[in-house]
């Protein structure tokens, strides 16, 4: 799956690096001084690299934990994100990562201990519960077999008394979670669009059915699960498709196991959108009913309101509205 691994010279001594390398005995290993030499240059094609991304192992420096946009939260007052990985195993055509990064290579930061220190400091500096989102620049679980992220960080979060962690995923690679006791302050949040949309736009993503199954299994085990209906996409038979999706989920996953549902209509910074559209000029999604507003490409206001209202209404048949959070455009 990974044929080429780039490594920063400075991390060659780290045990995490050796551990990852040992999983790919046949990979070509190429050293670099800094990951930016590979990840940042211009004249790279995200679309082409997506066919066969390399893995870059590097050390992240500077600030490692960042405040999260207000609209991203699920009820907490203090919200942060951290990224051990940039980019994703999957290839969703609406994904903003395609517009944000010049390269599709998986860029993994192996200095987990530095992330831990910063998370610990932030969490200790707050008296109220503090949220840490791990799936902002990647899928939290899809590359678990490579990164060992969850198996490393969940025990760490368990020891932090007021820290909540969200794993956000479209993966069914949940084995690591089944192998441990559920954490009281962790939410495993699954993102969904109806299967008809997923088949068109979420390339490589497990089926909706298998994700619901994974969610159900985790809920049964006692994990808190989350539902992320983001992006909400205008489509034919919108009501029927989203209604089916919600029914399929809530018939399998009991309401009490669901920590939160968040809903956000498709939106993207204009610069990212233009970049992605240029890479996929034939993509139907980009012929959608979008408008440029305030530096963002989003649905025309009226459409966005309708989509959100309808989905909130559909959800209200299944879940307490207090658990539903609307992401603002």
């Amino acid at each position: 799956m990974i044929d080429t691994i780039y490594i920063e010279e400075q991390i060659e001594g780290l045990s995490k690096y050796q551990e990852i390398l040992s999983r790919f005995p046949k990979a070509t290993v190429i050293t670099c001084t800094h990951y930016k030499e590979i990840f940042n240059p211009s004249a790279q094609s995200f679309r082409l690299q997506k066919k066969k991304p390399a893995l870059i192992l590097a050390k992240q420096t500077g600030k490692l934990v960042h405040p999260i946009p207000k609209s991203y939260g699920v009820g907490g007052r203090h919200n942060f994100y951290f990224s051990h990985l940039l980019n994703c195993l999957y290839d969703c055509r609406y994904c903003f990562l395609q517009g944000m990064y010049p390269s599709a290579h998986y860029l993994m930061f192996v200095n987990f201990e530095d992330f831990e220190k910063e998370i610990k400091n932030i969490s200790q500096s707050k008296t109220e519960p503090t949220w840490f989102f791990s799936g902002y620049d990647c899928d939290s679980l899809a590359l678990e077999s490579v990164t060992g992220f969850a198996s490393h960080f969940l025990p760490f979060f368990k020891r932090l008394p007021n820290a909540w962690v969200e794993l956000r995923t479209k993966s069914v690679a949940t084995q690591i979670l089944h192998a441990m006791d559920p954490l009281p302050r962790a939410v495993v949040a699954f993102s969904f669009t109806p299967q008809e949309i997923s088949s068109q736009l979420e390339h490589g993503v497990p089926s909706v059915k298998s994700r619901i199954r994974a969610m159900q299994k985790l809920a049964k085990q006692g994990w808190k699960v989350g539902l992320r209906i983001d992006p909400l996409l205008e489509c034919r038979n919108f009501e029927k498709r989203y209604s089916n999706l919600f029914r399929n989920i809530f018939e399998k996953v009991p309401e009490h196991a669901i920590h939160s549902v968040s809903i956000g209509a498709f939106r993207m910074p204009k610069g990212f959108y233009k970049k992605i559209e240029k890479q996929y000029p034939e993509e139907k999604l980009f012929a959608g009913n979008f408008k440029s507003q305030g530096g963002c490409i989003a649905y025309q206001r009226q459409i966005e309101i309708q989509l959100k209202q309808k989905s909130v209404q559909l959800l209200s048949q299944w879940i307490n509205p207090d658990k539903v959070f609307k992401c603002q455009t």
Binding site: D3, T28, I30, S45, L233, P281, E283, F286
Partner: protein
Amino acid sequence: MNFVVAYLAEAQPVIDYYDLKKVDHASIPLFQNDQHSLVLSGLGKNSATSATENLSRSTNNPNGGWINLGISGHGSLAKGDLFIAGKILDDNAKETFYPPQLYASSITVSTLKSCSKPSMEYQEGMGYDMEAHAFYKTACQFTTRELIQVVKVVSDNPSFPLDQFSPKDAPVMINQHLQRIDDLVKQIEETSNTFQIDDKVEEMFESIGKIHSFSVTRSHQLQELVRHAKNLNLDLGVIKEIAQSSTNAGDAIKNISEFLEPYRTLG
């Protein structure tokens, strides 16, 4: 494919394999057929830079694939081995290139250092040439890095140093790897084809553009609308008819936009 090769002795097997013809009227040593172009650069970085620039002006497809092919020294590979550069250093420049390795190939990946003078240095795992870095840096101006690769055959190594190498051996050495080189060429070309502009959209855009006088802004809008119509699987002939029945460019943009509106929902 655009080939940049230092000497005729290295290029001859490629010229023969693809049946390239010398372009007599060209001001550069250029060989071409419908699909491929090859330029002889001569030795060294400056020559590689100007040959790559010149070829970009003479080729049909500067945004397509680029390969720098030739012989090179190597610190550990055997004489006659083929390798592809995964990292390209330069003895005088700071910038290092990492050609993305996307292609299914059994070709060994190696680091390559471009030197200002012929090198008798043989560091473990390192190849040595005199053109690749300058070639790569220049070709990056014309296309995306994934489509630019450097492929070399080992001519000398610690057991057979450079002073024992005869340029006469170059054609045979390259010849034995042509099949694998061609496999790579095909993959790069296939990849590059995914970037080709949709002719149908372009033709229709140009044809509608002649019906009314479109300003630059409206022309962009029209191009986008035609592309959207195609992506939405609509008949482009209908779009043209709408333009024809419109009174002017502004009216055409408005009418086509309104026509597309109900189709813009995902299936």
